[in-house]
Amino acid sequence: MPKRTDIQSILIIGSGPIVIGQACEFDYSGTQACRVLKEEGYRVILANSNPATIMTDPDFADRTYIEPLTVEVLAKIIEREKPDAVLPTLGGQTGLNLAMELFHAGLVGVPGTPELIGANAESIETAENREKFKQAMIEIGLDVPPSGTAHNMEEAMEVVARIGLPIIIRPAYILGGRGTGMAATMEEFVKAAAHGLDASPVSEILIETSIAGWKEYELEVMRDRNDNCVIVCSIENFDPMGVHTGDSITVAPAQTLTDVEYQKMRDAAFACLRRVGVETGGSNVQFALNPENGHMVVIEMNPRVSRSSALASKATGFPIAKIAARLAVGYTLDEIPNDITKMTPASFEPSIDYVVTKIPRWAFEKLPGTSGILGTQMQSVGEAMAIGRTFPESFQKGLRSLENGRLGLNCDPAEKQYDALDDAELLRLCNVPTPERPFHLGEALRRGMSVDTINAATKVDVWFLDQMLMIVEERAHLATLGFSAMTKRDWKRAKRLGFSDPQLGYLFGVDELDVRKARLDVGVKATFKTVDTCAAEFAAQTPYHYSTYEDTDEVQPSDGKKVIILGSGPNRIGQGIEFDYCCVHASFALRDAGYETIMINCNPETVSTDYDTSSRLYFEPLTREDVLNVIEAENPIGIVVSLGGQTPLKLAGLLPQNLIVGTSPESIDRAEDRELWNVLCNQLNIPQPAGGTAVTVDEALAITDQIGFPVLVRPSYVLGGRGMRIVNDRDELVSAMSELIGFGALGKEGGLSAERPVLIDRFLEDATEVDVDALRDATGEVVIGGVMEHVEEAGVHSGDSACAIPPPTLQPWVIEVIEHYATSIAHALDVKGLINIQFAVRGNQVNVIEANPRASRTVPFVAKATGVPLAKIASRIMLGATLQQLREEGLLKPPVTGHTSVKEAVLPFNRFPAVDPALGPEMRSTGEVMGIDITFGLAFAKSQAASYSALPTDGSLFISLKDRDKPAGIIVAKRFRERGLKIIATKGTAAYLARFGFDVDRTLSKLSDNEGTSAVDLIASGEITFIVNTPSGSGGRSDGSHIRTAAVVHRVSCVTTVEAALAAAQGMAEAAATPMTVRSLQEFHGL
């Protein structure tokens, strides 16, 4: 059946901001879908609030709405654009949930409204409702873990009597896994059930037989409207059941299933899709298998593309989202050609001849108060994928791709930390799923604990453990051989097991480059193989490669002008999709300009690792060794290191210097090295806060003796304010320094050394922070891309702060000063490409805080706000183009004005209820949204709605301020009262306001006083609808932190700065006065 001609326009719902569990993978799938549907001639309308995505580039859709993803907004878009169909399966859970809300509101999926394609309301409901799904599976003869619901202890006892122990308890309608518990004895059960009932606001718990320790599998399925079904990929989890699959190490294809079991699982997956009613598209189905007897149960399914489908696409070369989009418009699998072989159709099941390992990356170090233990709730913020011919090779490549200071499976300096553990403690740790577990397992094997002992303790499959044991045994063997005795065969065996040169260097006590030279001298070099969907059965042209140590290399020689772009590796807080956006744009721009682009990256979620994005894709770890391998294979004319964040920048100094294009590594160093930077600022006469650098506690104290407190303390060469904090006195300084000194020993980012000291600067209180992104070319022309005024005061990390273009409060002449300083700094650093500079404006004085001659997190936001594609222009400048040339080409146009754009951060605190959500100098947001409108107030209101904390229209404002903020508090209280909110305050704040003639509506005592109704109670009851709470400095868990936590749990907007409160009041006022309108980016940009 060919494509449908009865529909002409399609609305795609994106997934919104990056949050834990929903990351770049939906930009990858959404971008593919937009491309394909446009190619097919449909009019594509896109709604997504996330400006950092490629999909929201105006080129990818006919109409791009960067608007809040709410039913109200989507209704307006539908009314305005009148799409024939809505495709909800490419925008993650957000897309599906919105589709259901639109359906229930009668706006889609019913006669006279746009049709839902890809998945209908009934199938979404069947898949998403736990109880309905279980019933459906039982109906078709598949097993599910036995379970029952209970509303009181009596019912709970009945359920447990029926299903037996051990069980897992999941309270209904809770956030962040609160009240979830496991029980293996009746005593534990009674406690866990009571706790769960208590945690659930509706006193309802699901009691389910625990299958923790079972083997976990996932199948990626595609189905077309002719009922053709294929499995794209099977995935086996390294971590047994009990750890969320997003937090598990996973391996493709499945390794320990007989064909009999695999085919049974395949049949079950198809039956599941058919019963749920997924008519077309991709879905994943998760299974658990009892390792003792093969008993298989269905865990869940997602009737949409997902994180694992992105992984499966990258793992096999089968582009699930692209094909799902085509299936949604009526094609069948056999009508779609396999992109990779070109000759064969998409109606097949990929066969792969390598092993793919995905390893998550977490950010617990940024979230103090979290246990760091993995469980049924996903907590990771990113992931790395590695391809090797065997599991040991791909596993070790995956571990070194994480960039967490480890070189592979131990055999590195960080392994020394295990020396302090005795065997019993080590085995206990092996059984606790944490980010450290693989390394603990490796160490346990090295100490000679048997595979069976470890398997009994951890349930990690013996096959995986034995494969790890091969690595461990090889290491011991290599150690007995010694560096000078290594033969070609020895080198080859070690490299085939995935040992990195730095690991071998550590083992032999020689430099990594000596290892490299020694093995290359005997002819052991990386060979590159191709990802081709068919295990080499057919010829494939797709230039998608991975390194391994085999006989032959498959990279085709080419004589084009080749440029390597280094990507940004796994997502982490501080380095995410924004940098991938920049790398992708560089690839697009340079390809357009006639270069062959070569992408190196190891993040399976991203658009950069789509084999369509660049001329060639190398799915490799971003380490010196792996990048040098590609350089040797490709002979590029240049390497772009300044667009992928800190990851490629850190590599810049380790690569052939003549190949680095753009701003020179020396200039990068001048901006990063405090002494050189001070000299530069002094020469330019640009004021900056007093400060210095320190490696030891004493050095740090010497600096504060001179400059006084408070100070801002931060390690050099890190991104996202890792380890950054505001320190108010000597004691705090000593503890901050000790912690930073400890980082290096733990193998974490940010360890201190003479080359990487701590920066200590006087902190400017009450200053306004301003970010500038600018471009400079080799002729010395500078173009200011955007001047962004932060909503939160200086001291809140720029990544966590809302900001606006154009600056809403800065005087025009202050902006001119800022632009002038930015230009001088760009000249002084001889920037060729992008530079980001941060300023703090106090009174009328502009202080420079820091400069980074590279792409910043704000580049995509500025590009969407102004219509100027900064990253594309920067990449061209790096390869020698001038701004004038690019102007003539039409790539550089004057910025679009006439509207205000607000970027707001999205924070992960609902996943981590134990963490105080107060903002500070360490970045903790995972993503961002953008609001665009004609005024700052309206744009700010949109940005709040888009970040799921819409401004209230009624209820009460709760206000509690630190002394310094109290004067401004009067204004805040007045503004909110004007908006019709009642004002509730703490005693101290109320008394202060009363002195100025402002009487609050209600006064509350402190939580610690434990008398009467507390703010937490009123937040829970819904009476308080907006909170202004400015933290009173550090210390223990104060009232403020309880209030902010309650706000997160009950999803009440909470701002922690006066500035944000005033911005909110302005937004509320303007939103009340003007009906909300939606407008596409194409209209804003005048396209």
Binding site: N226, D227, N228, V230, S234, P253, A254, Q255, T256, L257, T258, D259, V260, E261, Y262, Q263, R266, D267, N290, P291, E292, N293, G294, T332, L333, D334, M343, T344, P345, S347, F348, E349, P350, S351, I352, D353, Y354, V355, R389, T390, F391, V451, D461, V462, W463, D466, M470, K529, C534, A535, A536, E537, F538, A539, E550, D551, T552, E554
Partner: protein, 385 residues
């Protein structure tokens, strides 16, 4: 201890590896590849691989061990296996032995550590190619590769077929199954529908008709269909007698030749578990298990057959129905073992054909219990679990 070994192809290509499985200084055969991700035990024990050395494109082989029920024949007929990585430790509740131990027990040598992707790409260009591997020196292996005849023009069926008839299953339908190298999974399927008598490949039509069967099944098997002329004669007589007939793989090719059609050798054959086959009548796509080097030329049967199935990768013939007769056949493996279950409806189709020829409106089907079929020859693994 590692035993270094070499693989040498008849065109001189050399691969370095290490010996696995049974000890042998020289093993020779026709080198082919298979792209299945799971199912190595079924593949290795499939009689259709008689005379061949199987290269697995999946790097890790042996991970889930071997068990007593996933055998496809009474012994192993392939000449050897080539892998990238042989598991040294298995993990699966069904396993009773390691794959490597099974190879040793059956005297099957192998070679590990091979860049199987390089080898596969090579075979993709040269076609299935004679080769030799083992611990012998390169010139010995080269000589062995050069004298290896391959599978063209060799009667391999005679080597694998049963010497005596045997019967399994029970029920109202009586099926005669020609054993050209029949897989046990096929017998498991057939015995769901009735009593199955397996007969040697050279059994004549008269002897088959004397057993008064309701239908005749033509099995899979190794090698060149042109090398079994006497089976071709028997099939012709049976089809002309109106006997309900169903053929799989070699059975499909032999049916073609019985109708006077031609078969030819594919460049490197189809060996995998992921080939898309389209049902011509409905347009539906089945993902199929395939293992053949030879292929039916439907144009040589113009007017005598209806093409029922097509391979979507290379558009070669995958199935046919004989006009004016009760016979149909497919090139691929609907029984799976290993492979997808998408095409198992064909066994029902065969049962329907037999029932209607008998004047009945339907058939009954016993459910396959577990994985074993009572009555199949017992497999002795001969190694400790």
């Amino acid at each position: 201890m590692i035993r270094e070994a070499l693989l040498v192809l008849s065109d001189g290509e050399v691969f370095e590896g290490e010996a696995i499985g049974a000890e042998m200084s020289v093993a020779a055969g026709e080198v082919v590849f298979n792209t299945v991700l799971s199912g190595y035990q079924e593949v290795i024990t499939d009689p259709s691989y008689a005379g061949q050395i199987i290269t697995f494109t999946t790097p890790h082989i042996g991970n889930y061990g071997v068990n007593l029920t996933d055998f496809e024949s009474r012994r192993i007929f392939c000449r050897g296996v080539i892998v990238r990585e042989m598991a040294r430790r298995r993990s699966n509740w069904r396993a009773t032995a390691d794959l490597n131990d099974m190879l040793i027990a059956y005297g099957i040598p192998g070679i590990g550590g091979i860049d199987t992707r390089r080898l596969t790409r090579h075979i993709r260009d040269t076609g299935a190619i004679p080769g030799a591997f083992g611990t012998a020196d390169e010139s010995t292996l080269r000589a062995a590769a050069l004298v290896e005849p391959g599978t063209d023009g060799v009667d391999l069926v005679a080597q694998v077929t049963t010497s005596q008839p045997y019967t399994l299953g029970s029920g109202t339908l009586r099926i005669i199954a020609y054993d050209f190298g029949i897989k046990h999974t096929i017998l498991r399927h057939l015995s769901e529908y009735g009593e199955v008598t397996v007969v040697p490949a050279r059994t004549g039509a008269v002897d088959v008709l004397a057993l008064k069967p309701d239908g005749v099944f033509l099995s899979n098997g190794p090698g060149d269909p042109a090398m079994s002329p006497c089976a071709v004669d028997a099939i012709r007589e049976l089809v002309e007698a109106g006997m309900p007939t169903f053929g799989i793989c070699l059975g499909h090719q032999l049916l073609c030749r019985a109708l006077g059609g031609e078969t030819f050798k594919l460049p490197f054959g189809h060996h995998g578990g992921n080939h898309p086959v389209q049902q011509v009548s409905s347009g539906k796509v089945e993902i199929t298990s395939q293992n053949h080097n030879f292929c039916v030329d439907p144009s040589s049967l113009d007017g005598r057959i209806e093409v029922t199935h097509l391979n979507l990768n290379d558009h070669t013939n995958e199935g046919m129905r004989v006009n004016g007769a009760n016979a149909f056949s497919v090139q691929y493996h609907p029984e799976a073992g290993p492979g997808p279950h998408d095409s198992q409806y064909l066994f029902d189709q065969f049962a329907r054909l037999m029932a209607s020829a008998k004047g009945r409106s339907g058939f009954t089907r016993n459910s396959m219990t577990g994985y074993e079929t009572p009555g199949l020859p017992t497999i002795e693994l001969g190694v400790a679990g």
